[in-house]
């Protein structure tokens, strides 16, 4: 029998207007406790305004061995990058 609590991935939104960002993972018996644990482990120094928790089991990840088929075809296609436009200075950082 497995007595370990499930693993949860923690996402925190730093400021209003920013998207949630993955900050790490932790163990907890359920989603509510995962939020509480995330509060104690990751937001003690005023890092966040919103917490998402996702049980790690529920995340489907791409496989490292699929790297070739998934990503390499785009490497030789520079025209897919919008790098051929002159951006006026007034626009600022993009």
């Amino acid at each position: 029998m497995n007595n370990e609590w499930p693993l949860w991935e923690i996402f925190i939104r730093g400021q209003h207007g920013m998207s949630h960002r993955h900050v790490g993972s932790l163990h907890a018996p359920d989603a509510e406790m995962a939020i509480k644990n995330a509060r104690d482990v990751y937001t003690r120094r005023n890092e966040g305004v919103s917490i998402w928790v996702v049980e790690a089991n529920n995340i489907t990840a791409s496989s490292p061995s699929d790297k070739g088929p998934l990503y390499e075809p785009s490497e030789s296609k520079v025209y897919r990058h919008p790098t051929f436009f002159d951006i006026p200075d007034e626009v600022g950082a993009m």
């Binding site: 609590w5 932790l26 163990h27 907890a28 018996p29 509510e32 406790m33 509480k36 644990n37 509060r39 104690d40 482990v41 003690r44």
Partner: protein, 252 residues
Amino acid sequence: MDRDEAFLQFLLRMGDNTLILGHCVSEWCGHAPVLEEDIALANTALDMIGQTQMWLGLAGEIDGGKSADDIAFLRDAWDFRNVLLVEVPNGDFGRTLMRQFLFDAWHLIMLGRLMKSSDERVAAIAAKASKEVTYHLERSGDTVVGLGDGTDESHDRMQQALDYLWPYVGEMFSSDDVDAEMVAAGIAPNPADLRDEYDALVGRVLTAATLTIPESRFAHKGGRDGRMHTEHLGHLLTQMQWLQRAYPGATW
């Protein structure tokens, strides 16, 4: 007893509760069953030490310009005014969380009343502490329910913890001359008046935790008036105070 003396006693009671409980909880640092609980307990302990600085800082101002550190580290056991509940040793993790819950529930209700204190400094400290304690109570209450309504072993341990700690609950609601003076000044409520709200809150959580509250209302007393602490306080102070005792005035 004049009002200044009563006010000082009241502040020592508030500050010593959080100081002694904060110290006990800090003993878990590096020893809790899982990393997440270890960090959470350390955070709780730090919150309580922070509250102690405010209560004892104000006590020191009234008591001839002493610092919170002077009061925390240079008094002996008979000068402490914490309730006995907070000096009971940690025991296992379940008992530590049960003690925390029984204290947090009283603490939050008390702070709610103190936010309306006629003394602005007391109201300000209570408002700040109340936000932290709201979270403490949420966490300790959920853990008491999780463990009480958990496995057979965790249920038994939580029931034993409740049976052991319940006789220490009553002291938080006892009243004396200090309380009468604080009520008259509008500074703090009569502790006895908090009991109904406490019983309702604690009853709700312990029922959800499938635990049975002991019927006896017997209460150990002697902490908040300093008449008689348990033998545990002296041992605790030797750990907490040794550095200032061995190296008086040491700073870093």
